[in-house]
């Protein structure tokens, strides 16, 4: 990992700022419901969907349980096909390997296809510091590179940017006319990037799946930029996290069917490249050299953690982000880390420490929508709860929370205290109840009444009514006949 940054992620502040960003709200509010609809339609077409999810989860669990053996198998197979395998324990090691390759191969012009793993290790800055130019070639990533921003979504990295913002950016940075239509803007990027591809001497990509059995690197995309990146430059460097290995070629039949439908709602992604070694004798394209960098960077901490290990099943489809009601309103940047959204709130506290990211697991209602759509059945709400528990035990939550929990538990441990608390509350609430409801509460409950009224405590709690209720026989009496409204106020 890139070293524990001391400052903690200000998740509450980030969220408040995101909620004020009306352009962001608009973009996400259109994009994510559209992704969800497409996903649901694509999933509904596959009768064996649930079987696929179960199989995918079990294959990943198998792969994780045999990770050492599968990675060495992968290494042997890639090597046998003429590739070179490098191991990186952390981000620094990975950066050194890749900048070293750029230097020794004389690579000055580097093209990259979309890869969260290279974002994670902050590769671009290292390559630039080593004197190379680095161009992100995924259209979304290209936009972000021009804007000097980080991706905000696993599969739609620039989802937070409007068409107008892109037009403005292309005009300022590329001198292009301010086109209104996305297809014109895409053409501007296509033409600019074509010459970068043709001139590049090294291509850097991520890896979606690495097949141990055959030494095959699998890269999934829609645009074709990853095909360019892995076809034209003479050197291809692929960077993968240790969890990307799958045992057999046949397993791809499960994962590829799940990935596109879950993420974008496509039946299949446009391009899936199965790369087995560098170009072979007689071939005129494909890289002359293929390097695979296998990165740990904190993942073994997840692997060693029985409660959180299943986070390593993640195939980065983005479905959890697309259904998350929190993500839909705050976007990926609010999470203050490379991986945002529900899965990010699980992995970031482990990769970067609870001291820095201990607040992330709390920014969720635990609604469970993410677990419901996850194609590899990661139980994200359960892991958020586990991490909340650890944040409390590690002393990463504030004193008011602690005091409240202690106080609540002390009072609720005995019905007599609960009764007394109720009496005290009913006496005190006279100060704030107006016309049967509470419009404003003091700190620490003021957050509640910012957006909703609060109900007053009932004049007589249920426990005091029970004795008389018991006399009734339900069949003879009904609620609404006695209490005219029967509703919460």
């Amino acid at each position: 990992m890139s070293g524990q940054r001391p400052s903690s992620i200000d998740i509450i502040g980030n969220i408040e700022r995101a909620l004020q960003d009306s352009a962001l709200q608009r973009s996400l509010g259109v994009a994510l419901p559209a992704f969800r609809m497409q996903r649901d339609a694509a999933v509904a077409e596959v009768p064996e969907w649930e079987d696929l999810r179960v199989a995918a989860a079990r294959i990943k669990d198998f792969a994780l349980a045999h990770l050492d053996g599968l990675l060495t198998r992968l290494e042997a197979q890639v090597t046998a096909r003429g590739g070179l395998v490098h191991w990186a324990a952390d981000a620094e090691a990975a950066r050194q390997i890749i900048t070293g390759l750029a230097r020794t191969r004389g690579a000055r012009r580097i093209v990259k296809s979309k890869s969260m793993t290279t974002e994670e290790i902050h590769l671009n800055a290292a390559l630039q510091a080593a004197g190379a130019t680095v161009v992100e070639t995924d259209l979304g990533e290209y936009i972000l590179q021009l804007a000097g921003e980080a991706p905000s979504h696993l599969i739609a990295p620039a989802v937070h940017k409007s068409t107008a913002a892109v037009a403005e950016l292309f005009s300022a940075r590329l001198g292009a006319p301010r086109y209104q239509r996305p297809e014109d803007l895409a053409r501007v990027a296509r033409e600019a990037l074509r010459s970068d591809f043709l001139a590049a001497d090294m291509g850097v990509s991520g890896v979606n799946f690495a097949v141990a059995e055959t030494g095959t690197l699998v890269i999934v995309e829609n645009e074709g930029n990853a095909r360019f990146t892995t076809t034209l430059p003479r050197v291809h460097v692929a960077v993968m996290g240790i969890e990307k290995v799958i045992p057999r070629l046949a397993d791809l039949g499960v994962f590829l069917r799940l990935l596109a439908r879950s993420g974008t709602g496509q039946r299949a992604s446009v391009y899936v490249s199965l790369l087995t070694g560098p170009r072979r004798a007689g071939e005129t394209d494909g890289p002359e050299e293929l390097h695979l960098v296998i990165l740990d960077n904190g993942r073994v901490r997840l692997l060693a953690d029985p409660d959180l290990r299943e986070a390593l099943r993640c195939i980065r489809c983005g479905a959890c982000q697309n259904v998350c009601p929190v993500f839909e309103r705050v976007g990926g940047h609010a999470y203050g880390a490379v991986y945002g959204g529900p899965i990010g709130a699980v992995v970031t506290p482990v990769l970067e420490g609870l001291g820095r990211a201990g607040g992330l697991p709390f920014a969720s209602t635990l609604c469970g929508a993410c677990a419901e759509v996850c194609p590899v059945k990661i139980d994200i709400p359960r892991m958020l709860l586990v991490l909340r528990g650890r944040a409390v035990r590690g002393g990463y939550v504030g004193r008011p929370d602690r005091l409240f929990a202690r106080g609540w538990t002390f009072l609720m441990r005995s019905p007599a205290r609960l009764r007394a608390l109720g009496r005290l509350g009913r006496w005190l609430q006279r100060l704030v109840v107006r016309r049967g409801r509470i419009e404003r509460l003091p700190y620490p409950w003021s957050g509640w009444t910012l957006h909703r009224t609060a109900p007053p405590l009932a004049a007589r709690p249920f426990r005091d009514r029970w004795a008389s209720l018991r006399q009734d026989r339900g069949a003879e009496s009904r609620g609404a006949s006695r209490s005219s409204r029967g509703s919460l106020r």
């Binding site: 969220i15 909620l19 009601p325 929190v326 705050v330 709390f362 920014a363 969720s364 209602t365 635990l366 609604c367 469970g368 929508a369 677990a371 419901e372 709860l385 528990g389 944040a391 035990r393 939550v397 929370d401 602690r402 609540w408 538990t409 609720m412 441990r413 005995s414 609960l418 409801r437 620490p444 957050g447 509640w448 910012l450 957006h451 909703r452 009224t453 609060a454 109900p455 007053p456 405590l457 009932a458 709690p461 249920f462 426990r463 009514r465 029970w466 209720l469 018991r470 009734d472 339900g474 069949a475 009496s477 009904r478 609620g479 609404a480 006949s481 029967g486 509703s487 919460l488 106020r489």
Partner: protein, 240 residues
């Protein structure tokens, strides 16, 4: 007569006892002998969800004591049922004697609509509720307990009740316990979207299996001066 112990929940006990009363009458009408263990307080969900597992364990232990002898525990709250069912066994994982009791209790604890439909096989309770009703599936009931059809089947059997479709029904209302206070603006934004959906549905009443979500929704509806009322499922089943 099916003997059941009512866990009324701390929220309903102190804020909305009328929901508890309705639940008792509904259960009685469905042929249950309802008891109310007087020692009950809070299942510990609020502190548990906030990360205070040691505190939750104290309250969970108390809950185990109180409901130890209950043949079945029924509660008009999906999230409290989920707490006992899904989380107690895990919470006491490292305490073998308690874990066994927690597992036993987990198997006998039910949310109200779940108990009526799945266990008793009852949907017709003779209720009458002349209103257009939107049903909000509370997240824990929906996803932890898998309640999809049960509340709807009960509502379908209520005379003069017109069920209206709620757009994006399965999206969270934004309550989330302390989340509503800590992430107030975010919770408010989620609430606002849910209220827009409720108001656009043409419903007179929004209902749910969880009083916590309903308190949140009712507070939002009151704040915007909406004519829509929030009514717990138990009260609708008890109306007539």
């Amino acid at each position: 007569m099916q003997p059941v112990a009512l866990f009324v929940t701390c929220l309903i006990d102190q804020w909305h006892p009328e929901i508890g009363e309705a639940a008792v009458r509904v259960l009685q009408r469905a042929g249950c002998a309802v008891s109310f263990p007087q020692g009950q307080t809070c299942c510990g969900q609020a502190t548990f969800n906030d990360g205070f597992w040691d505190d939750a364990r104290v309250l969970g232990r108390w809950f185990l004591e109180v409901f130890e002898d209950a043949p079945a525990v029924v509660t008009p709250s999906g999230s409290c049922a989920a707490m006992v069912r899904e989380w107690y066994p895990r919470l006491f994982r490292d305490f073998p004697a308690l874990a066994a009791r927690a597992c036993g209790l987990a198997h006998r604890t039910y949310e109200l609509s779940e108990y009526l439909v799945r266990v008793l096989g009852v949907t017709e309770l003779g209720a009458r509720f002349p209103a257009a009703v939107a049903y909000h599936p509370s997240c824990h009931g929906l996803r932890s307990l898998g309640l999809r059809e049960e509340p709807l089947r009960l509502l379908a059997a209520v005379r003069d009740l017109r069920l209206v479709a709620l757009p994006r029904a399965e999206e969270c209302c934004g309550f989330g316990g302390f989340f509503a206070v800590k992430f107030s603006a975010l919770s408010g934004a989620m609430l606002s979207a849910k209220l827009d959906a409720i108001e656009s549905s043409g419903a007179d009443v929004v209902t749910a299996t969880d009083a916590s979500c309903l308190v949140h929704l009712a507070g939002g509806l009151a704040r915007r001066g909406s004519r829509v009322r929030a009514v717990h499922l138990a009260e609708i089943l008890d109306a007539g």
